[in-house]
Structure formats: structure tokens, C-alpha cells
């Protein structure tokens, strides 16, 4: 079982990662993935994600280990940007291989909820009037609470 966790400050190409990840798991039953990108639908000109070197990557690695075990994965890839990003650029990608589809899909859902609300990232948006820090949303916390039932 292979776990890959990457925290990068440069743009990445999800398709170029997904192909090799798929090929590395012959005999997989299901492969689920999610790519999150900076939305281009409002007046956000840029987005900045800050991280804390001593905790963010170790936290992502612990999350990946937990998900791989919980959902009996064959492989898990977690890729996250930090720094300044423009609309359209990918922020995060999670891909999970499993014998069965429900495990693969649930693992992606689980990782995304935890990356969003329980990982060491702080987000701000650049709008016409300057930078604005983004506060956590109630929805994020209720998404997270689904997994502790």
C-alpha cells in the first residue's frame, strides 16, 4: 500500500499525476479522485493559502495514514498547494485506490473534509478592496462531524 503526500508551492497538473497513480495500481477495483480549484465565479482575483512548516505536512501525513487504514485502501495520493494561486488553478487533489468503490469514494470524501476543516491551512482572498481572511464555515464543521458518528 503506497501513500503519497505532497505539499507544494507551484502549480500542478492533476491529469499528469492521476495517470501514473492509476498505472501503479494494476488490479484495483475502484479509483476515486477529487480536484479542488480556485473558483472563477466571483470577484476573487487571487487566493493565498498559508501553512505552518512544522505541522501542516505532518498533519497531512497522519490524515493520509488514517484514511488508508480506515478505508482499506490500496493507494492514496494527497497533493496540496500553498502560496498564492489564481482562479482556475488546482489547490488540492486526492486520489484513492481500493478493491471496492465505496471505500475509494468515502476515502476521498473523508480526506477532503479533513483537509478543509481540520488541517493547518489559513486562507485569504484578494478582492478589489484588498486581502480578506476567510473564516471557517459552519458547513465545514458539520461536514467533519459526519465522520465521528
Amino acid at each position: 500500500m503506497a501513500i503519497h503526500v505532497h505539499l507544494v508551492d507551484q502549480p500542478f497538473n492533476p491529469g499528469a499525476l492521476l495517470g501514473p497513480f492509476t498505472n501503479a495500481h494494476p488490479g484495483y477495483g475502484g479509483l476515486a479522485s477529487f480536484i479542488g480549484a480556485v473558483r472563477g465565479d466571483d470577484d476573487v482575483r487571487a487566493l493565498e493559502l498559508l501553512h505552518y512548516e512544522k505541522m501542516t505536512r505532518p498533519g497531512m501525513e497522519a490524515l493520509a495514514e488514517e484514511a488508508a487504514h480506515r478505508f482499506e485502501l490500496l493507494g492514496l495520493l494527497v497533493m496540496h498547494r500553498h502560496g498564492v494561486m489564481e482562479p482556475g488553478e488546482p489547490i488540492v487533489m486526492v486520489a484513492a485506490c481500493a478493491q471496492h468503490r465505496r471505500g475509494a469514494i468515502a476515502a476521498v470524501d473523508y480526506c477532503m473534509d479533513h483537509l478543509k476543516s481540520d488541517s493547518w491551512f489559513w486562507k485569504r482572498e484578494l478582492r478589489a478592496d484588498g486581502w480578506h481572511w476567510i473564516e471557517p464555515r459552519d458547513q465545514d464543521h458539520s461536514d467533519l462531524a459526519r465522520w465521528s458518528k
Binding site: 505552518y52 512544522k54 489547490i91 483537509l115 489559513w122 485569504r124 481572511w133
Partner: protein, 80 residues
């Protein structure tokens, strides 16, 4: 030697920068005294957590940061 303070998220704006070195060692009262008043007020609230050398501090009042250590001031996350 010193203790490095790391301000994450909006606390960096309030503190006037992402990092600051202060004289160590540092306990909870010493930390509050070393912070700008606005940041100290935030850190006393429940939402801001502390980490010492990358490990969360369970009881902020029991903070004991030796010389050469790093204290991170962590406001609520809002990632992805």
C-alpha cells in the same frame, strides 16, 4: 538564545509580521507580556491554539517554552 514566535493566518497581520524572536525561556504570562495587546487578547481566547515545537499545547496556561524553542500561535483553520 531566544524563543521564536510564529504568527499564523490573520495573527501575522495583527502582530505586524509572521515571526518574532523574544527572550526565553517563556511561560504563559511571559508570552502574553511579549505580545502586542491585540494579539495577546486573541491568544487568551479559546479559538487560538498554541503549539510548542510543532506539538499542540493542551493547556495554554501550562506553557513552558525553553530557550531555542518555537511557539506557534494558531487561529482557526480555513483551508482547501
Amino acid at each position: 538564545m531566544a524563543v521564536k514566535l510564529v504568527f499564523l493566518g490573520k495573527l501575522a497581520d495583527l502582530a505586524g509580521g509572521p515571526e518574532r524572536d523574544v527572550a526565553g525561556p517563556l511561560d504563559w504570562d511571559g508570552l502574553l507580556a511579549a505580545l502586542p495587546p491585540q494579539v495577546a487578547a486573541q491568544v487568551q481566547g479559546q479559538k487560538v491554539k498554541l503549539a510548542l515545537d510543532g506539538a499542540l499545547v493542551a493547556d495554554k496556561a501550562a506553557l513552558a517554552a525553553p530557550d531555542g524553542s518555537e511557539i506557534a500561535l494558531l487561529p482557526p483553520v480555513s483551508g482547501g
